[in-house]
Subunit: 344 residues, 4 copies
C-alpha cells in the first residue's frame, strides 16, 4: 500500500484524497490544511489524520476542536508520496522539503513544467513518469485537450490546432471571484494552454486563445483541428466513444424536425453528473457534444466541456501508479482507476 499525503486540502486535494481511499493499492496517511474551515468536513468524516501547515497554525485548529497530528514536515516524513495541491506557483517551493525527506511528489497544473521536468497525462504519456520522483499532473484544460486530441493524432495526424478556451471564473465555492457581467479575454496569445499541451503531446502544433466568463461550472473548449487527412465524423465519434474518460453527449434531441433541449450547456451536463450519482456531482470525463462535431475538408470542429474541479483526479491516481511502477501499462492503470471510481 502506497502511503499518500495530501498537502493542500482544497478543491483538488480533497477529491484526490477521496479517490485514493477507493483504490486497493494506496491509502491516505494524512492531509495538510492551512486553516480549520468547513472544508475539513470531508477529512474528519473520513477519519484522515489532519496536519497543520505550520506550527503557528496548530492553535487555531485546536481552538476549533480539530485534533492535529503534526505539521507538513511530519506528514512528508511518513508519506511515500505527497500530492501537492497548494495554490498555483507556490507548490514548487516545497520541492526541497520533499527531496530532503526522500518523498516523491506530484504537483498540479498551476505549477510550471520546467522546475518539475515531467508532465503527466495517463492517456498520452504515462510511461514518461514511470519511477519518476517528481511529476506534474497537467491542468484541467490541458488534460481535456490531451484526451480528445490524442486519438485524433493517432488516427489522422494533426497539422495544427486552434482552440479558444471559454473559462469559468472561479470554482463554485469561490464566491468572491468575478467578473460579474463581463467577458475578459486573455490577451497574451497563445494563452498558456497551448504550449502546455506540448508537455504531454510532444511536438504538437497548437495555438490557444482564451476568455473568462461569469460562470462557476465547467470550461468550454471550441476546437479547430486541422488534420493531415480528411476526417470522418462518424469514425471519430466511434473513436472517442471508446476513449476512456471521454463522454459523448447530445445537446439536442430531434423529434419530427423539432430540436428538443437535452444537454445544451454546461449546467445540464453538471446535472447529468448529479443524476449519475457521481461523487459530489463531479464529472471526471471530458464531455464532447456529438451534435457539435463537424468536418470541412481537413478541418475538424468540435466543442468540449471540462469539469475543472475533477477531470484531473483520476490522472493523479494514475500518476501515483506510474511513479511506483504499480502498473507499467497506461490502459491497465486507467481501467483500474476508472473501475474504482465508477466511471468509464
Amino acid at each position: 500500500m502506497i502511503k499518500v499525503g495530501i498537502n493542500g486540502y482544497g478543491t483538488i486535494g480533497k477529491r484526490v484524497a477521496e479517490a485514493v481511499t477507493l483504490q486497493d493499492d494506496m491509502e491516505i496517511v494524512g492531509v495538510v490544511k492551512t486553516k480549520p474551515t468547513y472544508e475539513l468536513r470531508g477529512a474528519l468524516d473520513a477519519g484522515f489524520p489532519v496536519f497543520a501547515s505550520t506550527k503557528s497554525k496548530v492553535d487555531f485548529f485546536e481552538e476549533m476542536g480539530v485534533k492535529v497530528s503534526g505539521v507538513t514536515e511530519d506528514l512528508v516524513e511518513i508519506a511515500d508520496v505527497i500530492i501537492d495541491c497548494t495554490p498555483g506557483k507556490l507548490g514548487v517551493n516545497n520541492m526541497d522539503m520533499y527531496r530532503k525527506a526522500g518523498t516523491k511528489a506530484i504537483w498540479q497544473g498551476g505549477e510550471k513544467h520546467a522546475p518539475i521536468g515531467v508532465s503527466f497525462n495517463a492517456l498520452t504519456n504515462y510511461s514518461s513518469s514511470i519511477n519518476a520522483d517528481f511529476v506534474r499532473v497537467v491542468s484541467c484544460n490541458t488534460t481535456g485537450l490531451g484526451r480528445t486530441l490524442y486519438p485524433l493524432r493517432q488516427k489522422y495526424g494533426i497539422d495544427n490546432v486552434q482552440a479558444v478556451m471559454v473559462r469559468r471564473s472561479g470554482d463554485p465555492k469561490d464566491s468572491d471571484r468575478g467578473p460579474l457581467n463581463s467577458i475578459e479575454p486573455v490577451l497574451s496569445v497563445p494563452s498558456h494552454h497551448g504550449p502546455d499541451v506540448q508537455t504531454i503531446m510532444h511536438g504538437i502544433n497548437i495555438q490557444t486563445m482564451a476568455v473568462k466568463v461569469p460562470t462557476t461550472i465547467m470550461h468550454v473548449h471550441c476546437i479547430i483541428a486541422e488534420l493531415d487527412s480528411e476526417p470522418n465524423v462518424d469514425e471519430i465519434l466511434g473513436m472517442w466513444e471508446s476513449t476512456p474518460r471521454v463522454n459523448l453527449v447530445e445537446g439536442f434531441l430531434n423529434k419530427d424536425g423539432d430540436k428538443i433541449r437535452n444537454l445544451p450547456g454546461t449546467a445540464e451536463i453538471m446535472e447529468l453528473a448529479r443524476d449519475a450519482l457521481y461523487t459530489r456531482g463531479d464529472l471526471n470525463q471530458i464531455a464532447v457534444w456529438k451534435d457539435g462535431v463537424h468536418a470541412f475538408g481537413k478541418k475538424l470542429y468540435y466543442y468540449q466541456a471540462i469539469h475543472q474541479e475533477s477531470d484531473v483526479i483520476p490522472e493523479n491516481i494514475d500518476a501515483i501508479r506510474a511513479m511506483f511502477n504499480l502498473e507499467s501499462d497506461n490502459m491497465a492503470s486507467i481501467l483500474k482507476t476508472n473501475k474504482a471510481l465508477g466511471i468509464d
Copy 2:
C-alpha cells in the same frame, strides 16, 4: 411495502424516487416522464419502470431506445400513491384520474392549498395528514420557514413575522432562466410565501416580501420574528441544534480578531453539502447562520438558506408514512427518514 409512483420525473420527482428506494417500507413501481431527455439517466440506472405521459409520446421514447412500461394511467392503476411532481398549477388537473383509480396522491408546493385541502410539514402538522388521501407537501420556502419558526412558537410564542425571501432564479439545470444582472421584486405583498405558512402553522401572523436574483443555488430568507417574550440567542441556537433538518453553520471564523471566511454565502454551503458526500450534493436541511442570529428586545433577526431542490424530499417520504399511517408519531417518521437518508 407501499407502492409509489412518480408522475413527473424532474428536479423533485427524481429525488423523491431515489429517497423512496432507501426506505424499508416503500418502493418505486414506476416513473412518468414527458420526454426521453437526459434526465431519465437516473431512472434507467436505478431500473425504475418508465411510463410515458401519454400514448402519443411512446414513440419518442422508443426511438431513443427507452423501454416504455405504459402511460400515466397504467402507473396510477398499479401504485398505492402517486407523487405528483408535474409543473406547478397543472398537477391538480390529475386529481380526478387519481380519485377514479382509488390511488392516493401527494402534490408539491407549486399547487394551491385549496383544491387539495391538506398541506403538510412533518415537524409542524404531521398528524393532519394521517390516513389522508390527498396531501400537499408545501414548497421549499414554506418548509424552511416552518422548520425554524415552529420551535420559536413553541418556546416563546410568535406575535408576528416579517420575512424577505431572496430567491434564486432557476434550478442549476434550468439554464434558460433569467434574470441576468437584475434584481426583480415580487411586487404583490405579502408574497405567496406568507399565507402559505399558515397552511402548516395555523393562525401564524406572517407577512413576506420577495426578490428574485440571478443565482441558481439556494434561496436566502431574512427573517424578523417578533416574539411574545424576549428571546435568548444561545437558547434558540440550542433549540435549533436539536431540531431535525436544521443545520447551524458559521459564516466566519474568528481568530485573534480577524474574521476568516468560512461559509459566508450559499455557494460555500452547497460545497459543504458536497463535502459531506450527500447524494447529488443536496442539502435536505435548512442552513441557519449562527453568527447571523441577533435579538433586540422581543425581535429576533436571522438568516437561513434553503436548498430549493431538496429540502422537501424527506417531507414527501414522511407524508407517505402519514397517509398510510405507517407511523403515527411525527418524530418517529422524521428520524426514520433521516436515518435512511443519512442526514440529521
Copy 3:
C-alpha cells in the same frame, strides 16, 4: 464661483465633477487620480486639470502622455472645497491636510460619521451643514432611505422601520468582483445601513439586514415601515410623486387582466434612465415601484431601487451650497441642482 477639487476620480468623483460643471455657482479646478487609466478620459475630454496623487506617480502619468498640473497638496491649496472620493475608510486620513490648507472638504458615505461629525442629506437635514467645514454625504443606501422615509415621518410619524437591502456586488466597471452564483448575507445585524440613517434623521428607530447578490446595477430595498397612524397608499404615492429625487415606476401594466412586464426589475429601470437620455444612463432619483406599495394596518411595505453610482451626486452639489451658504433653504438648492442636472 466656488473652486471645487476632486480627490479620487472614480465612480463618484467623475460624476460629481461633471455635475459641478453644470452649475452656475461652482467650477472644477482640478481632479486627483492615482493611476493614468482609461477613467481619465472624461477629465481629459472636459479639460479638467489633472493632479497625480503623489510625486512618485507623476512619471507614470507623463509616460502615458497625460499632462500633470501638480499633486494632491497643490490642488488642496487652490481649491475652496475638496470632494474626497478616495476609497472608503481611507478618506479621513486626508483631514489634516485639508485643515492645514484651510480648505473645506466633503467625504462620501464609505467614511464613518464620527470623525467628520456632520452627515448630510439635502432633503432631511440640509441646514445642519450650513457653513460647516467638513461634511459627509451619506451613502447611496442611506440617501435612498432618507428620501422616502422623510415624508412618511413628516406625515404619519414612524414607530420603527425594518429594511432588507439586497445589494449589487460591484459597480458595472468593477469586473473583478464576486460573488458569482451565490447570495451572501451581511451577518451582523443591524447592518451598518440602519444606524447610518440616524445620522440624517435623528432618533429614527430602524433596523436593517442585508444580502449581497451577483448583479452590478442597483440595490433593492425591501422596506417595512410601521407608522404611528394608518397609512393611505394613494396619499403616500401622491406625497412621493412630489418629493424631489423620488421616481415612481410601474413594474407591470394591466390590460384586460393580464400583467404585462413594464419595469419589473432593476435592469429595466436602468434602461429607462438610458431612454431618458440621462448622462451616462444614470438615475439620480430613487425608483419606487408603485405597484409594490401596500399597507396592512399601520405597516407600510414597499420596494425601492437605488442607483448606487449616482443618487448621491446631486447631494454633493447641495452639500457644497450649504457649506458656503449659497442657499439657506434646502428646497431652493435641491431645485436649482435638479434643474441644472435635468432631473426632477
Copy 4:
C-alpha cells in the same frame, strides 16, 4: 429631408430614431410600437408621432394616456423609408406591405439575406445598396467582423478566417433571459455568423463557432485570420487606427514590469463609453484590444468586443443615404454620420 418611419421601437429602433434626428438630411415621421410600455419614454420625450402596431392595440395606448397617430399602415404610407426593427425573422412578412405602398425598407440582421437580396455594411459594400428599395443591415456581429477584416483583406489578402464568437445572452433590459451559470455552445458549425459575412464581403472564406455566456453587455470575438502574406502587427494597428468605427483599446498598462488593469474586459469598455458621454453609454465602434493582437507566420490573432445594441446604428443611417443616393461615396457618408453622432 428623407421621411423615416421606425417599425418596432425597441433596442435598435429607438437608437436609429435618435440617430436620424441628428442628421440634416432625414427626419423621423413616426414610430410603431406594439405595447405602451416604458420604452416609449424616449419617443414621447422626443415628440415622435406614435403609431400602434394594429388597430386592436390602439385602446391600450390610449388607456395609458399615449396619443396614437395611426397604425403601421398609416406610417408606411407617409414614410419614404421604413426601418423595420420588428423581432428577427418576422420582419420580412412586412415586405408586401412596404412594396404596395411604394415605400423603401431596411431590415436588421435578424432577417435572412435571401428574401431581401441586398446586405449592407458601409465600409465593405456601400455601393451595392445605392438606389436599392430593400436593404438588410447585417447583424452586430457581422458588422464587427466586416469592419476589422476589410482592411486586412485590402492590405494582405485573406486565405481563411476562423472565429469564435462569445456572445452575451440578452440585452441589458432583457432581464428574463438566461442562461444563468452556464455556457451554451452553438452546436451547428459554422454558426450563422460566418456565412453572413460573405453577404458583405464576397467570397471570403470564414468559419465561425459560437458560445452563449451569462452576461448582458457586448460580444467578444476571438479571431484567427490566416492572411496571404505575413502580417505586421504595428502596421495593422495603424490601419485600424484610421479605420472608421474601430476603436483600439488597451487591456493593461505597463509600469515597471507590472501589468495594471485598464480595460481588461467588456465591463470596463462599456464604462469607457459612458465616460466619453456617448448617448446612452453606447459604443458604436468596434473595440479591438491592442495588446491582444499577435501574429505568428501568416496567422493573425486578435480579440474584439461588439456592443450589440449600437454598432449597427450608424450603418442604418448610411444605408438610408445609399438607398436615396444622398451620398455616392461610402466614406463621405460614413464621415458625415460619424460627425453627427460624435464618434470616429
